[in-house]
């Protein structure tokens, strides 16, 4: 008779999930990530609704990546109606997206991951001893939030990104101020990278992983793309994702699990982007990558933490470049009129936690079909696999220690459980 090891509510992640490890005579028998956050039926509730109203609701799937949801839904909608935004609008949307990336990565690394390594149960109690780290965390987080405020109207659930462009654009001085703040933040991002390069990677979970990421547009490491790259060398156009990513309902979770070509778990996220697209990095991030490549191993989910830190450096430099490109074209119109025609559009982007896909079908100005698969839903099967590997290697540890290690595996993925539970169609 074995008592199952259970974590009822995984702490320091977004959303409500638990871990259950069941032991048998031959070691670990079963590992389940119980996703207990209630279902929110986002696809179902927006079907039949006006496109603009549905677009205001989709970001509410998740607060940690609301800009990612907004911008991916917008691109799918614009593709559906046959509209392509001007280059400078796309550049500013990417800057808004990068704001989300900076905030989310800083938050995850310092406040959700670091306390485990330093032996704290929460980040707030670290303040006395790790004042500098908390200050850096807040500075980076505030920068990301402010970028989303300026371009998106607020840090959570941005309303200022709309069909055709933006409701209102910041003035030139504000964009220059943003550039200045990004430059000031670059050394903080580098400090973060050095800090996370020293953390333990837990070899117990090492093994081959299939990674998926977008093939970035314009051959520059980035967020948008029209093809998906798989680490086994395969590429497919985003419109064909249903052939290669199959979702299944599992009994212990309100969130579905995704499989590559019908059977294989896969991973998405910062380490997957690095695994598939590192050659497209440039600037300081490129130098750091070549210097530290041994630590950025695509075979270890813990490398996702360091990959996020590398991305902090990269995306800060990228945002500076995008702002420069935009300023060179100043002044610019905030939006163009969009004629809402019938059609279907698919958008894949790189949310902070990995691939996010929206398919929207529009008929008579209303949503006729919606399919959304979030990074966490894609990662769940792989995450369970890695928790299992960790549990197998530590099955004789004290339950408290095993629980912590299992949680740390989950936290390395930076899951967004709320996101995963708005659920998609079969």
């Amino acid at each position: 008779m074995y008592i199952p090891i259970t974590v009822d509510h995984i702490a320091r992640v977004e959303g409500k999930g638990g871990i259950e490890i069941i032991m048998g005579d031959e070691g670990v028998k079963e590992v389940k990530l119980n996703i207990i956050e209630g279902p929110r039926f986002f696809e179902a509730i927006t079907i039949g609704k006006k496109l603009e109203e549905a677009l205001a609701v989709y970001p509410r799937i998740c607060s940690f990546c609301s800009a990612a949801h907004k911008l991916t839904a917008l691109e799918a909608a614009e593709k559906a109606v046959g509209f392509t935004p001007r280059e400078e609008i796309q550049a500013l949307r990417e800057v808004l997206y990068i704001g989300d990336m900076i905030e989310s990565h800083a938050l995850h690394l310092y406040l959700l991951v670091l306390p485990d390594y330093l032996g704290y149960s929460n980040p707030l109690s670290m303040i006395d001893e790790y004042k500098k780290e908390i200050e850096i965390a807040l500075k980076l987080k505030n920068l990301g939030s402010w970028m989303m405020d300026v371009l998106g109207s607020r840090a959570i659930h941005q309303e200022n990104a709309i069909l055709g462009g933006f409701g209102k654009l910041p003035d030139k001085t504000t964009l220059e101020e943003m550039k200045g703040k990004l430059k000031e933040a670059l050394p903080l991002a580098e400090y973060t990278f050095e800090l996370f390069a020293k953390l333990k990677q837990y070899k117990e979970v090492e093994g081959p992983i299939i990674h998926m990421a977008v093939k970035p547009r314009g051959d520059v490491y980035g967020i948008y793309g029209d093809y998906i790259k798989v680490s086994d060398g395969f590429e497919f156009p985003v419109e064909e994702y249903k052939k290669h990513i199959v979702e299944r309902v599992v009994e212990h979770s309100f969130a579905k699990h995704s499989f590559y070509n019908g059977e294989r778990p896969f991973m998405v996220g910062a380490i997957s982007r690095i695994a598939n697209n590192a050659e497209l990095l440039y600037g300081r991030a490129k130098e750091l990558y070549s210097q530290y490549r041994d630590l950025l191993q695509p075979t270890n989910p813990f490398a996702n933490n360091l990959a996020q830190a590398l991305e902090l450096v990269y995306f800060i430099e990228r945002a500076i470049d995008l702002i420069d490109e935009t300023l060179a074209k100043w002044p610019i119109r905030p939006k163009d009129e969009v004629e809402i025609r019938d059609g279907r559009g698919v958008s894949f982007t790189e949310a902070p936690r990995g691939l996010l896909v929206y398919t929207l079908e529009i008929k008579d100005g209303r949503v006729a079909y919606a399919d959304i698969i979030t990074p966490t839903a894609m990662n769940l099967a792989m995450m369970e696999h890695h928790v299992r590997m960790m549990a197998e290697k530590h099955s004789n540890d004290e339950p408290e220690q095993l629980k912590l290690l299992a949680e740390m595996v989950v936290r390395a993925y930076d899951p967004c459980i709320s996101c995963s539970v708005h659920v998609a169609r079969l």
């Binding site: 702490a11 320091r12 977004e14 039926f41 509410r60 149960s121 309902v249």
Partner: protein, 262 residues
Amino acid sequence: MTGKIRIGFYALTSCYGCQLQFAMMDEIIQLLNKANIECWFMVDRDSDEDREVDIAFIEGSVSTEEEVELVKKVREKAKIVIAVGSCAVHGGVQSWANDKKLEELWKTVYGDAKVKFQPKMAEPVEKYIKVDYKLYGCPPEKKDFLYALGTFLVGSWPEDIDYPVCLECRLKGNPCILIEKGEPCLGPVTVAGCDARCPSYGIACIGCRGAIGYDVAWFDSLARTFKEKGLTKEEILERMKIFNAHNPKLEEMVNKIFEEGE
């Protein structure tokens, strides 16, 4: 209150945005010198839902049978219960489809598959327990949190906002999106406090702070204006229901406008 105040933050079904907003206030560091966190899973591993607290913040809508039990437990353990954000106060955007049946939604999304937890249609927290105070918004503004906490910390009670976003928008001197651009702005019936955030970006209010209380949200007169601008009853109800699906007055007042003309 004397000594350290004990706080708990509890999550039901939501996007975690209210907690994120709360956690991300720089001011929270000073505040926490005066507080003990008893339960807050998003930031603290050492959290326990069974501990007693002075102030319980609840985010999210009640959307599973397990969450019904959780809110009842929180009510028993807390002196003051604050419903935080649109989901806890009004049921959230997940209530937008409350004209559809749970079975129908489930089938659209999960087909015939079964899951071992029991889902429910999303409902506001007040449906199950007494709520002492509400923080409106999706998410609430930082100053909403600071005002409520500051007032509680000095032993007083925060006041409700009983005027609309429209007022703040007028004070800012924005052009009127409803009258001048003809867009379906919900500013006239929505609780103020956001400083007319969206209209200031030229975007019509979608009502994320919910309708003003005390039965002063005039759904009927706004519906009449929308009707004059050519919106159908269904369009008006859909828009007003994004964040107000559980409002008992809404349908009745909008229906009245459409019966008048017939």
